[in-house]
Symmetry: C7
Subunit: 75 residues, 7 copies
């Protein structure tokens, strides 16, 4: 690990992999990380919405506004 590792590097390594994105409203979106920017706006492909661990909706490609996100982790 480089000494100057930055948070966005971790997102970069997760590109094209499946991630869990959790929002302030407690919803989770799981999908393949397609894109992100410095505001942590995120685009997921082949995504689905989960509430309390249960799949609620299949959503395809989804844009998530960064300021609603709490954490992003690999599935």
């Amino acid at each position: 690990m480089a000494e100057t590792s930055r948070p966005l590097d971790a997102l970069n390594r997760a590109r094209n992999k499946r991630v869990i994105v959790e929002l302030k409203n407690d919803k989770q979106y799981i999908g393949k990380l397609n894109a992100f920017d410095i505001h942590i706006n995120v685009v997921l492909d082949e995504s689905e919405e989960r509430v309390n661990g249960e799949v609620k909706r299949k959503l395809g490609t989804i844009f998530i506004r960064g300021d609603t996100i709490t954490i992003i982790s690999p599935e």
Copy 2:
């Protein structure tokens, strides 16, 4: 998919297509994506408001302030 794909590219590809915009207050607006900007301010045409999946109002053209939005997805 380009390696440097950015979140706004996904919104750009959705222009003139029907999208679902969800707000922090849990309302949904469905309509044709007419315009957006870097704040994720959005304009929908031929839109309607849904609450818990039910159509509440037909609204025509609607401006949505970006900071109230959680996700945007194709219908």
Copy 3:
């Protein structure tokens, strides 16, 4: 519609027309759109306040701070 249509263009087209402005606190203000800026601060003329669809107050000219607004639509 121009390909590079921007959200504020839609507000510009609504100038001098009656619009509904909805706030995060669920209040609605209906009036003639007099002015707006990039923060979406808005001024309405001949306005009234509605709560749950009912007219609560006649207000004349009103300044609405942009960061409290969720949507703006034609009446």
Copy 4:
């Protein structure tokens, strides 16, 4: 009305007149508009606080932080 009318013009016209300032916490402050800035920080003179329409306190000169304000209207 000029075509390029801006929201702060409306506040400028209200200087030295009595206005109602409403906050996100539902309190109202009524007083003579002494000063405002681009953040919509506001100073009222000869002001009073009202809650649910009832006068709670006489306050003299009062500084109101802009980001707590929802609307400003003439009394």
Copy 5:
């Protein structure tokens, strides 16, 4: 009163005088206004905390972060 009076002028005139600072969480801090800046960060000397009008604590010098403040008024 000068035509170009600005909100911070009012705070400037209150320096070294006792003021009431009210927060979004409904607490009040009363003390002598020692310092403020453009973010409305405030320092009070010889201050006390009041909740519902009752003195809860004597606090001496206190730093208050601007974005928690709703209003500032002379005692």
Copy 6:
């Protein structure tokens, strides 16, 4: 006291002294003020967390994000 006293001067005078930092979520952190910046991010040494005046945890060095802070005062 200099006429141009600024809020951060008060924090500077509190360096290496014990302070109480209160958060929007009503938690209190008490410790020796090690560092702060213009965002009011704060580092305390030899700190402890109190809820309703009761010590909940001993924490050693702690970083507190500025935008969660309401007030900082000497212990």
Copy 7:
């Protein structure tokens, strides 16, 4: 301790050590501090989520958006 010690210095000293990150929604994430930036966006390795002190999930590498964080402390 240098006189000009800054808050991010404390985070820098915690790199590669286990820390507790607490969020506004009361969740805790414990893991090895891999990276952070000026927004206090944080990446933890070998992390786990705790709610009320109980381990809820093992999460591996996790990105935490800075504006949801209240405090960061060594485990």
